[in-house]
């Protein structure tokens, strides 16, 4: 099984978080999975990690619809952070709205990070792709 150093899940829905965690364990080994209830909490933590020059997560699972700071606001701030390494950012949303998908494509062009758009419910095959080619 594949080993991943660090994963970050940003989602306010506990069931989704549980599901993502469970799916990860079926496709990879990761001892550092952090969860944040909204974008703001995650962002301040990541900023702190950068400042302390600690290791940033390899993969981020990002929900779009969240209180306080939603997924888009998080992305907007995150892509402007001084991060050299390419982080795989998997948007995981229940929205099948075309507008949201189009918006994600705009962000794909704007960042060097590896951005993907995924709709719930997730399955193992999708999780394999989301955790591959870091």
């Amino acid at each position: 099984m594949k080993t991943i150093n660090s994963i970050c899940i940003i989602d306010d829905d506990t069931i989704t978080v549980f599901g993502i965690r469970k799916l990860i364990t079926t496709v990879a080994i990761c001892n550092d999975i952090k969860t944040y209830r909204n974008g703001e909490l995650a962002l301040s933590e990541l900023k702190k990690t950068i400042a302390e020059k600690n290791e940033l997560p390899d993969i981020i699972f990002l929900d779009l619809n969240m209180p306080i700071m939603d997924g888009w606001e998080f992305l907007e701030e995150f892509i402007s952070l001084p991060i050299e390494k390419t982080i795989k950012i998997n948007i995981v949303t229940s929205s099948i709205n075309k507008e949201d998908r189009d918006k994600s494509e705009v962000y794909m062009c704007r960042t060097h990070h590896n951005l993907s758009y995924n709709t719930k419910p997730l399955n193992i095959e999708e999780m394999k792709i989301m955790t591959s080619s870091i």
Binding site: I15, G19, P67, I68, E73, S94, N97, P121
Partner: protein
């Protein structure tokens, strides 16, 4: 001696004759001549008695000689005319009469020439001829004939033109009876008989327009006149004129018909039509314009817009009129708003057209105005309806999005958890999954309840609105929030007068006030007291309630789109789930009111609620 004396006496006698007379011998030599004769030829006494008479008649001596010879032969001669130019080159017309001269024994010894100066008479004759000619030409051109009735002989004479009009041959001889029969049977004929009688009996003149039937059966309009012919104070007949005026009458009728057509058309057009002079005074108005102004046309004619409309409207119209007069160009189909003195507003589609005379100068302005108020109203209604539709459409879209997103996220969770459950062998983990499924189901039910609330607000649009005392409502809410207020150490200052009332659905109003006030209390700065101020004011047809706090505030630039969204929260508060304001927003929309929010992070929020008084 005696003979000589007698001869001298004769000579002297003849010399003094007032009528120009000359006695000539058979050789045409002058024997006796009167001074008056010589005077005509301006020769005085220079002439010798033996001179030849023919020398005096330079132009016509041959004719005279011939006549004299006839006289010498004892034959009668006719009176003849000759002309003579005097020293001033003035023409003198002369008439000679020659008779044979006999001696006592009836022997022919010469001829007697008597001259008459007929210059004046000739001139008169010539003038008369000329006048006759003119009259003839005139009558032919004007188609005016003449007639003459001689009462003494009971004879009727028609001139050629009169005959032509009657379409009879020129040798036709009319009489009164047949002449009258040309008049169309009935009133025309009766009238002419009456006129004729009155002229004879009372000496009255007449002018009458009648119809005749010509000899060829054509019906014509004629104008006949007649007046008594008086000579030496005695009535001797009637003279009159006779004119064919058929063409005039037909033209007149046509003009009248055209005028009537035009008048009927203008009068009944479903358009306001008017003509104004250069001072913008109305000179013509049709029925529509009269109806619009509400006055009969005779009370409108001569008035300008300043007499009929408020000053600003009249001024605007006058400026438009002046523009048309100055540019000489029509202004077509422009929208013009009119206000009457009683305040009635009418929207017109107006055209103003300059009327130019032959010198290309504007003499008046023709105006057409079509009342498009109804159209305008419909347009406004349509705009309003469009706004409502657009607003509702957006709301529907938002709602559809919420439903698809929120419900989908729950079903996705179900699907995922069920997938796990199917594969899970471990009993504890299975129980864990089932707990989570129950929790997911509860979440779904809760979401459905929230959505149902919103649907109800948007469907029960006809809930009864009541008068609500705002301070009563606040005191109930403050009681409900008692512990929260205490916990947050909030201080509420109410500046709303106790009499303040708003109109609304009590349930909604309470929920709105509860949400806004609880937000103001809830989102206070940690460890700082929160001052909340309530106030009210009137703004047009709204009563505005303001709830102002000194709490956390919110970045509205960033969160404008989400502020009233469903499940949107902006602060780390565990028991807020972002549904309250979403519902409140739907409720104030349903009551046709609105929210207005001003906020600054770390300064506070001012939340204004507009309650509509008109609903």
């Amino acid at each position: 001696m005696l003979r000589q004396e007698t001869e001298n006496t004769t000579k002297n006698l003849i010399k003094q004759l007032p009528k120009a007379t000359a006695f000539v011998g058979v050789n045409c030599n002058i024997v006796h001549i009167s001074d008056s004769f010589l005077q005509i030829f301006e020769v005085n006494n220079l002439l010798q008695s033996s001179d030849n008479i023919l020398t005096l008649f330079a132009n016509s001596n041959k004719r005279l000689e011939k006549n004299l010879k006839r006289a010498f032969a004892g034959n009668k001669t006719s009176i003849e005319k000759t002309k003579f130019y005097n020293s001033e080159n003035k023409i003198t017309w002369l008439e000679w009469e020659i008779t044979t001269w006999f001696d006592e024994d009836s022997n022919i010894i010469g001829a007697i020439i008597q001259l008459e100066n007929v210059t004046e008479k000739t001139k008169d004759e010539q003038r008369l001829k000329k006048l006759e000619k003119i009259l003839q030409v005139k009558s032919e051109i004007a188609k005016i004939g003449s007639w003459d009735y001689n009462a003494i002989t009971d004879e009727l004479t028609w001139c050629d033109m009169t005959k032509k009009i009657h379409e009879v041959p020129l040798d036709y001889v009319p009489d009164t009876e047949s002449a009258i029969k040309f008049y169309k049977c009935g009133s025309f004929r009766n009238k002419i008989i009456e006129n004729f009688d009155k002229c004879i009996k009372e000496g009255l003149s007449w002018t009458e327009v009648s119809q005749i039937v010509t000899a060829k059966g054509n019906i014509l309009w004629v104008k006949s006149t007649g007046r008594p012919h008086i000579e030496d104070n005695k009535f001797i007949g009637i003279i009159g004129s006779f004119q064919n005026i058929t063409e005039d009458i037909i033209t007149q009728q046509k003009t009248k018909e055209n005028e009537l057509l035009l008048r009927t058309l203008v009068e009944n057009l479903p358009l306001n039509v008017y003509i104004k002079d250069l001072e913008s005074r109305k000179t013509l108005v049709n029925k529509s314009e009269c109806d619009f102004i509400g006055l009969p046309s005779h009370e409108i004619i001569g008035k300008n817009d300043f007499d009929l409309y408020p000053h600003n409207i009249a001024d605007k119209n006058r400026k438009l009129d002046l523009k048309v007069i100055e540019t000489q160009k029509p202004m077509l189909s422009f929208e013009n708003r009119n206000v009457k003195k009683d305040g009635t507003v009418t929207h017109f589609l107006t055209s103003k057209i300059p009327l130019l005379n032959e010198d290309k100068k504007v003499t008046s302005i023709i105006g057409f105005s079509l009342d498009i108020s109804n159209l305008k109203e419909k347009e406004q209604e349509l705009k309003k309806l469009f706004q409502v539709t657009a607003f509702q459409n957006k709301k529907l879209l938002d709602f559809a999005y919420i439903i698809s997103h929120n419900l989908r996220s729950h079903t996705a969770n179900f699907s995922m958890l069920l997938g796990f459950l199917l594969k899970e062998k471990d009993e504890t983990e299975r129980e864990n999954l089932i707990d989570m499924l129950i929790s997911a189901s509860d979440n779904l039910l809760e979401t459905l309840d929230d959505l149902n609330n919103v649907v109800e607000i948007n469907t029960n649009l006809n809930l009864e609105q009541k008068k609500i005392n705002i301070n009563n409502a606040f005191s109930i809410i403050e009681r409900k929030l008692k512990s929260l207020i205490k916990n947050k150490k909030a201080k509420i200052i109410n500046n709303i007068p106790d009499s303040t009332e708003i109109k609304g659905i009590p349930e909604y109003v309470e929920n709105i006030l509860l949400n806004v006030l609880s937000n103001a209390v809830k989102f206070s700065k940690p460890n700082e007291s929160n001052l909340i101020e309530l106030s009210s004011e009137k703004k047009s047809h709204y009563t505005v309630i303001t709830i102002k706090d000194t709490g956390l505030g919110i970045d509205l630039v960033k969160n404008k789109e989400k502020f009233f969204g469903m499940y949107k929260t902006f602060h780390h508060e565990h028991n807020s789930k972002g549904i309250g304001l979403f519902i409140a927003k739907n409720q104030i929309d349903a009551m046709k009111g609105m929210f207005e929010v001003n906020s600054k992070v770390n300064v506070g929020t001012s939340f204004k609620i507009y309650f509509n008084e008109n609903n």
